[in-house]
Amino acid sequence: MIRDYTLFIGPNHPGIHGNFSVKLQLEGDTIVSAKGDSGYLHRGFEKLMEHRLYLQNLALIPRICVPEPDINEAVYAMAIEELMGIEVPERAKYIRTIILEAARVNAYLFSLGGFGAMIGIYTLMQWSVGDRDYMLDLFSKLTGARIYHMYIWPGGVRRDFPSGFEEELLGWVRYIKDRLSDYDNLFFKNSLFVDRTKGVAKITDEEALNSGVTGPNLKATGVMQDVRIDEPYAAYPYLDFKIPVLSEGDAWARTIQRRMELELSLNLIEQAVKKMPKKGPVTVKIPNPFKWRIPKGEAYAKVESSRGEYGFYFVSDGGTKPYRVYVRGVSMPHMYPLAERLLIEANLSDAPMIIESLDICPPEIDK
């Protein structure tokens, strides 16, 4: 007799990236229905931001999306610059591009490590988290902190590169490029990975476009949509690149898409360092924080994060504090209802892997 029962992939689970729970109804080994349960990481950012001055918010904002904190600072700065009409100096644009691409490589290494641990290849996590750590050393040399940098602010960046920084950064990029063939032999060509993920949790391109999916999940189904090409920001108008797409749409294609974008980001960092103007101002002078008023209006600024399209909707009423800020998290349409639909008719042992292949980041849903 096959029994029906309820199971929690509860908050206390090493297989989910963060504090997040899914309630499953099972019949034997097959999932019949799935319901997500969020709210374990809710801090109320949208209310907290309304109580702080524009400069005080810079300390609060990186903590919204924890694995990749630089995108939060970038969209906040871009929204304020659009409302105030400021133009960022050219060297600052290139520096912002380099920082955002390096943060993207770090986020991919971190999430691929977690994905490997979910399948059972634990060596991948030891390698990738260790390689990511060298970039965190460079970040702490540049900005003073390993994880939350508070480096990109409205008007440019906080300070210029110290001397010798570009050579060390290019040395790190070359080191990761040489290691990519080792990663391929360990993980991406491993038959354990290929057999477990081919054909699992397939989505078609129409389904993806109607469900609000963006980022590598969408590009793995064959649709080319990327904020860096549709609405270029920072120094992307001056760089020359082409983004590859795959067309299978299953868990295998999504992971390989992330590995190809990792390689593209390394090439972009090298290009940007070569084309950067050698000298110049890196910031526009910011006004006195207690008297900093932004004209009335609204703006929506977006960037391409490692998961998809991330944006802030910013409303100002002419005062010294923001009136309303809405955080458009990437993972909200990926989880509700896409993952809940993909989990039906799947095997129980594939469930954490399906959630992880969509790269769902719980702090972006909970805010």
Binding site: P11, N19, K47
Partner: protein
């Protein structure tokens, strides 16, 4: 020659216990992003005998990483009561000490030691992996001296802890 009395037996057990503490792998909040670097090959926590483990019935340390959301607090109390004696609670990050940067949030509790007995705090936002390892070594020294007795305090003051939890969680 004779048998050991209870005090000497506890001392020997403490010496063995401190070299094999198992940590519960529950990433509560944003501090959990500095745990993989501490566990993997660069800062290697495993050489001290500390290993992340999945079930709460076989873990010794509960590491509360980061701020304490109310919905999570209810689950942490359940997990703590599922663990077997002797058990230790370590508060990770400045948010467990006095609320940290979320002091005016409507969903974050400010002091962890009103709800669970804390043995050690690690300050910082985020603490570096070296700080985490140094904290674990300090915990080992406290176990050696017999001062890490949070689990006994919880049993002695059970009704006080339960009253605080009920006031904030409301069940």
């Amino acid at each position: 020659m004779g048998r050991l009395d209870e005090r000497e037996a506890m001392e020997i057990l403490d010496q063995l216990r401190k070299r094999s503490l198992w940590m519960l792998h529950y990433c509560t909040a944003c501090g959990a992003v500095e745990l993989p670097p501490t566990m993997t090959s660069r800062y290697d926590m495993e050489r001290f005998g500390i290993v992340p483990f999945v079930t709460s019935r076989q873990a010794d340390i509960l590491l509360v990483t980061g701020y304490i959301n109310i919905k999570t607090l209810r689950r942490i109390v359940t997990v703590y009561e599922q663990m077997l004696d002797p058990k230790y609670v370590v508060g990770f990050g400045s948010c467990t000490i006095n609320g940290g940067i979320y002091w005016d949030s409507y969903a974050v509790a400010k002091r962890l030691d009103l709800y669970l007995p804390v043995d050690l705090y690690i300050a910082g936002c985020m603490p570096r992996p070296e700080a985490v390892i140094s904290a674990f070594r300090h915990l080992m020294r406290l176990i050696d001296e017999g001062k890490a007795d949070g689990y006994r305090r919880y049993k002695d003051n059970y009704y006080w802890f339960k009253a605080n939890q009920k006031k904030v969680l409301g069940e």
